[in-house]
């Protein structure tokens, strides 16, 4: 009788373990699906931003209108804080022209320290112009180029950022900046997407300039 009792307990125990294991695998699989769906949603939003950019490519717009629309899309559709620094050729400097989502405290600090301007080669943004390559700072507090202004990161709640050149072979328009709330915010697919966006915008702005010249 004791053996029978123990056998019943054993069977219940084994069945419980098997059911619990199935449930754990199910929960892990659900989590995997949630992550995948999140990634697909991000990519759908990215497609929407690119689609909006190209759809308006043949409609006449001023440079600032076009860039404002793009920054609006990046901020509202994708949720990224962003800004555009225009390249002032005669001074060889970048000037902050348009921004979305940045705090007034951060903007005031940038105005006080940099007077809204960055020289070619200075900080991360200036390096974008001199190297003609994107610059990704995945941890502002640890970047040696930005150690002098590390305090600005805490003021603006910006712990990572990326700057992408908007330039063609013949003209330099400026840089597109994206700002992250955490360190290591920029993964490879995000860097590639924003680089594609900056490159596409460069071609569209060049097209606008050439059309204006013709007119």
């Amino acid at each position: 009788m004791i053996i029978l009792f123990l056998l019943c307990l054993f069977i219940i125990f084994v069945t419980s373990i098997i059911t619990l294991r199935s449930f754990c695998i199910f929960t892990v699989t659900q989590k995997k699906l949630r992550n995948l769906r999140k990634q697909v949603l991000i990519m759908t939003n990215e497609s929407m931003v690119i689609n909006n950019l190209f759809e308006s490519a043949y409609i006449y717009k001023s440079k600032y209108e076009r860039i404002e629309k793009l920054l609006d899309d990046i901020y509202t559709i994708m949720g990224w804080r962003c800004s555009f620094f225009e390249f002032i050729d005669k001074d060889q400097q970048l000037e902050l022209k348009i921004h979305r989502g940045l705090s007034p405290v951060y903007l005031n600090t940038v105005r006080e320290i940099l007077h809204n301007r960055i020289s070619t080669g200075d900080y991360a943004s200036g390096r974008v112009i001199s190297t003609r390559q994107p610059v990704i700072v995945n941890d502002w507090l640890k970047d040696p180029h930005l150690s002098k202004v590390a305090f600005v990161a805490k003021i603006g709640d910006i712990y990572s950022f990326a700057a992408f050149p908007i330039m063609t072979r013949y003209k330099n328009y400026g840089t597109l900046h994206l700002y992250g709330h955490h360190a290591n915010n920029f993964k490879l697919n995000e860097v590639e997407f924003f680089a594609t966006l900056a490159n596409s915008l460069s071609v569209i702005l060049e097209n606008d300039d050439l059309n204006n010249e013709r007119r």
């Binding site: 009788m1 004791i2 029978l4 009792f5 019943c8 307990l9 069977i11 219940i12 069945t15 419980s16 098997i18 059911t19 199935s22 449930f23 695998i25 199910f26 699989t29 659900q30 995997k32 699906l33 995948l36 769906r37 990634q39 697909v40 990519m43 990215e46 497609s47 690119i50 689609n51 190209f54 490519a57 043949y58 330039m167 063609t168 072979r169 013949y170 697919n189 590639e192 997407f193 680089a195 594609t196 490159n199 596409s200 460069s202 071609v203 569209i204 060049e206 097209n207 050439l210 010249e213 013709r214």
Partner: protein, 191 residues
């Protein structure tokens, strides 16, 4: 004490209770298994969609970056088609310019004449069905250039009857990008 508790009637009760518990756990396990199978099917579909979009993004990135390295429109177009065939693993693709230049093809040769293709485009027809001895497939056309100034077209054969919305968007983006690049290069040469 345990042996006192384990009388025949108690034991029968324990066995019945155990059976009920095991049956309930078994049914629960089957339900979870069924839901898991459904979940796996959804994951497989979502994963393949994710992989496809990732490849498309990679292709767009490679093509947009090449614009600053490659000097001529022909090289940019060839590079774009090469990226689509290699990275996106599309089996066959061509670019057919409206000028007298020959088509640029990766994979199957173009089976229609330029006149036939651009007549279809003028009539706003962007799909041509073909039936050969080997197989039947559909050609999707994505015009490059603006309505009043067509520069060429992407010629995209597909064995499926419809491209997904995502694929249509992808090829349209490529066509828009090529339009801008070719137009810019042409205007720069003129100036």
């Amino acid at each position: 004490m345990v042996t006192e508790l384990l009388t025949a009637s108690n034991l029968i009760f324990i066995v019945i209770l155990s059976t009920i518990i095991v049956v309930v756990l078994f049914v629960l396990h089957q339900v979870i298994l069924h839901k898991k199978i459904q979940l796996f099917k959804i994951i497989t579909t979502t994963e393949s969609e994710y992989e496809e979009r990732k490849k498309q993004q990679q292709v767009l990135y490679n093509i947009s970056s090449s614009v600053f390295i490659l000097s001529s429109s022909e090289k940019i177009i060839k590079n774009a088609l090469n990226e689509i065939v290699t990275m996106y693993q599309w089996p066959s693709l061509s670019y057919i310019p409206i000028s007298t230049n020959p088509p640029i093809t990766f994979g199957k040769e173009v089976t229609f004449s330029k006149d036939e293709i651009f007549d279809k485009i003028k009539q706003n027809i962007t799909q041509i069905k073909t039936d050969t001895n080997e197989s039947s497939y559909i050609i999707f056309l994505f015009p490059v250039g603006q309505k009043d100034n067509i520069l060429g077209t992407l010629y995209v054969p597909s064995t499926t009857s419809e491209l997904s919305a995502n694929q249509v968007f992808f090829f349209k983006t490529i066509a828009s990008f090529l339009t801008l690049v070719i137009t810019n290069n042409y205007k720069i040469k003129e100036t």
